[in-house]
Subunit: 203 residues, 2 copies
DNA sequence: CTGGCTCGTCAACAGCTGTTGGCCTACGCT
DNA sequence: AGCGTAGGCCAACAGCTGTTGACGAGCCAG
């Protein structure tokens, strides 16, 4: 029931076990579901507390305020594969497969995406994940170091765009695409963004 | 001041000119700005009315309720280029150029994207635009008719993903990308999604 | 057994939201 | 000139929001 060691959450330093740990975890999962389904504004503390079958004031006591709850609910570790361990020409496919699996495993990423679009703190959190988790990995695959941020942004645009159309906007054809077909179409794109020579006009 | 004939709005049948047309237009532009900047929930009618320097009750009188205001504010015509008029191997570049220009011209599309993520009506509106404006055009470029929705969804994922990272989340590297570089990187992707043979595994 | 401390509930607050109806003003037609 | 009507403002409503503080129940150490 408690998923404090869910593979998408950052590992926490060992805390003294509290009697309320179960409640805290219940609140967090309820919060993730609500944020993923409704976004920041419409995911009210009262609704989250109702889902968790506790009083709204408990949420405040354990997480301070709504922003603190959100910060605790979307503490994400992408666990991107280390690119040295895979053949250079397959890094695109590996990345796409990893992202699709990550996205379908739980709703933390959907929550983060939905909130990041309308909430400044959510957008900053996404910028942080991008800079601290995607860019460093891209740095070890791209040919030219000074172009790494741009190439990583291109990869992010395609991966987040697919997540947007498939899991948030739910465009029917994007929802119906089988996983293997997503990988087959997107892998070459990501591969090119990461490793292909710069196609730019007069650079 | 009035942009009722803005090139991204659907042309309206000629209405009898009302004395309040200027106010109506002011409300609509203020609504677009607020929806684009804040999303549906945080774009309050009171704030929109304040921007338009009128009373909140006027918004209700002219547009019925908040949903009606939103529907009127994001009545979008993408004006996609007719693909027969361009060489088949340049349709990717033409599309990307068109979308980037569209997106930077005004904030209607940003408003629609921000709202579509947290509001059901907004998401349905995006599905409608996708089905009625993008799919029909794709139908005239793609080799195989029954794969058109999937291919159009792939195009949408890349275009919306770039808009998301650049105009909504504002990932710094995506913001800093010059327009020509976006076109140079994305055009081959879109071209492949539209015209390349199906890369699928065991089809 | 008794103290303190954690867990949890209840009730209430100030503020903001969408929405409504009444009232006044001033334009434009006859 | 007189009058209907459309444009606009004001005040208020019911409901919901995040947040707070007081108060009771039960675990655990001494």
């Amino acid at each position: 029931m408690t998923d404090t060691d869910s593979p998408t959450q950052h590992a926490q330093p060992p805390q003294p076990a509290r009697r309320s740990d179960a409640t805290r975890a219940t609140i967090l999962t309820a919060a993730r579901e609500r944020f993923a389904a409704d976004g920041y504004e419409r995911a009210t503390i009262r609704a989250i507390a109702r889902d968790a079958k506790i009083d709204p004031s408990m949420v405040m006591r354990y997480y301070g305020n709504k922003e603190g709850l959100f910060a605790a609910a979307v503490d994400i570790d992408l666990r991107l594969p280390v690119p040295e361990k895979v053949p250079k020409e397959e890094v695109g496919r590996i990345f796409v497969e990893h992202f699709v699996a990550l996205w379908e495993k739980n709703e933390v990423l959907t929550a983060l995406l939905r909130v990041g679009v309308t909430n400044a703190a959510g957008a900053e959190r996404m910028q942080g994940i991008f800079k601290e988790q995607l860019v460093p990995v891209a740095l070890r695959v791209c040919p030219d170091p000074e172009q790494v941020p741009a190439r990583a942004a291109l990869v992010a645009s395609q991966m987040l765009g697919m997540a947007l159309t498939r899991y948030v906007l739910r465009l029917p054809p994007a929802v119906d695409l089988p996983r293997e077909e997503i990988v087959a179409w997107l892998a070459p794109t990501v591969q090119r963004y990461l490793t292909a020579p710069h196609p730019g006009p007069a650079h």
